[in-house]
Symmetry: C2
Subunit: 222 residues, 2 copies
DNA sequence: AAAAGTATGTTGTATCTACAACCAAAGGAG
DNA sequence: CTCCTTTGGTTGTAGATACAACATACTTTT
């Protein structure tokens, strides 16, 4: 563990910490070191983790399976970086997987430990902090997803990206969305009439059908 | 104050709180109620606030001045919603202003109070929580800005939006950016060669000049 | 039920951009 | 210095989309 302290001082979680403080915290919070072979999963899609990971060595990749079944690399995690903090603080199941791209070592911090350690002192203040973390984390997830959609190169892809996510979220190929056309156009940063046109085209092509805010994705043959 | 408790139970900061807990917290954290007339500023661009605001009544608008000097509405805040939490937790000066669109009442929570209230108990755990909040909040700000750029309808506007932000950040019309062309293209969700083409066009039009990663915006005549 | 208002779909056009293919400059490695 | 790699600019083209203007359907009001 000693050899990793230099990396930990660079971790945002330990901003302005010296090594003694880090050591005290790791002891106190019962942090766990774990190693993974290349290719192993640190977190799997669907996991409801209560841990925050700090990568100590190796490389980790945040990946997600898109609507065509491809594993898409969303982000590379290098030593010293946090991962999983958003889903863990938001108390939401992971919608991404984290895989070791090389042999890797991870320090797992139990979120419940840092959350509840000081609740004796001021119960309500601790809950407020916990809520604030949850709020910021949920916003983070929301923003990340929106950026994912906005990053698609064509409106068609933006739409499919958004609708696929909704389909997964609602666990059905048939679902309603909480946005009207203008709101969806704004969310995807597109023109409303262009959005309507592309939706019609997708319907003609048999990719999906829709009525008002209710959409049904057609299972593609591949 | 009593009349606002119903709204506060809907505030994400008090998720799963009952009224007694909220009352205890407000007492403990010395929260301040303040009213504003329509048009008044709750927060001004450049402020380094240590407060988190909860809107109790009225409507507030998050606004930002764009590169043409227009005040752009970024977000509407309705009663029960938080505002300012990202800049406050990130410990960064506000890059937006918050204005009362109607006569409004705001409950101000002092972030230092909720941050340090429980530090006697476990100094390091409290710092970790504080760092975690800072980290999530900074990410939030970063994402928000990226979404602002990505939301522009044309690549030209995306580029100008990004470069203007950099110019403001670095407080100069002449500045270097931390991204190479491919990275900038990825950040703005565009094709690299298309990015190069638009940059060249902007240069021909006299909007800006650039050399590698260094850009100089031309002060427009309006 | 008629009227007014709102939301969504359609069409045409000018513009923009992704994409591919290529060229040029800069920087490193040997 | 030369070769090779990386980075960035240019060009041509096909296709996509913003924008405007209009048409249609659905809602709400009166």
């Amino acid at each position: 563990m000693k050899e990793y302290f230099k990396i930990l001082t660079k971790c945002p979680l330990f901003f302005q910490f010296n090594e003694a403080m880090i050591a005290a915290f790791l002891e106190e919070s019962d942090a766990k070191l774990q190693t993974y072979n290349k290719g192993a999963a640190l977190v799997l899609h669907g996991d409801a983790s209560q841990q925050i990971g700090i990568l100590l060595s190796g490389i980790a990749q945040i990946r997600q399976t898109d609507y065509e079944g491809n594993s898409v690399l969303l982000h590379q995690i290098l030593p010293g970086a946090l991962f999983g903090e958003a889903f863990t603080c938001a108390d939401q199941p992971f919608t991404v997987s984290v895989l070791a791209a090389k042999d890797s070592a991870v320090l797992w911090i139990d979120y419940r430990k840092i959350q509840f350690d000081f609740q004796n002192q001021s119960q309500t203040a601790a809950y407020v902090v916990s809520n604030l973390l949850r709020f910021l984390a949920k916003k983070n997830i929301f923003f990340t997803e929106r950026i994912r959609h906005l990053s698609k190169r064509s409106l068609r892809e933006k739409i499919i990206s958004y609708l696929s996510q909704q389909s997964v979220l609602q666990n059905s190929l048939s679902f309603s969305i909480p946005l009207n056309r203008q709101e969806l156009a704004d969310y995807l940063a597109a023109d409303r009439s262009a959005l309507s046109a592309v939706l019609s085209k997708l319907q003609n092509e048999g990719v999906l059908t829709f009525h008002k805010n209710h959409f049904t994705l057609t299972k593609s043959a591949d």
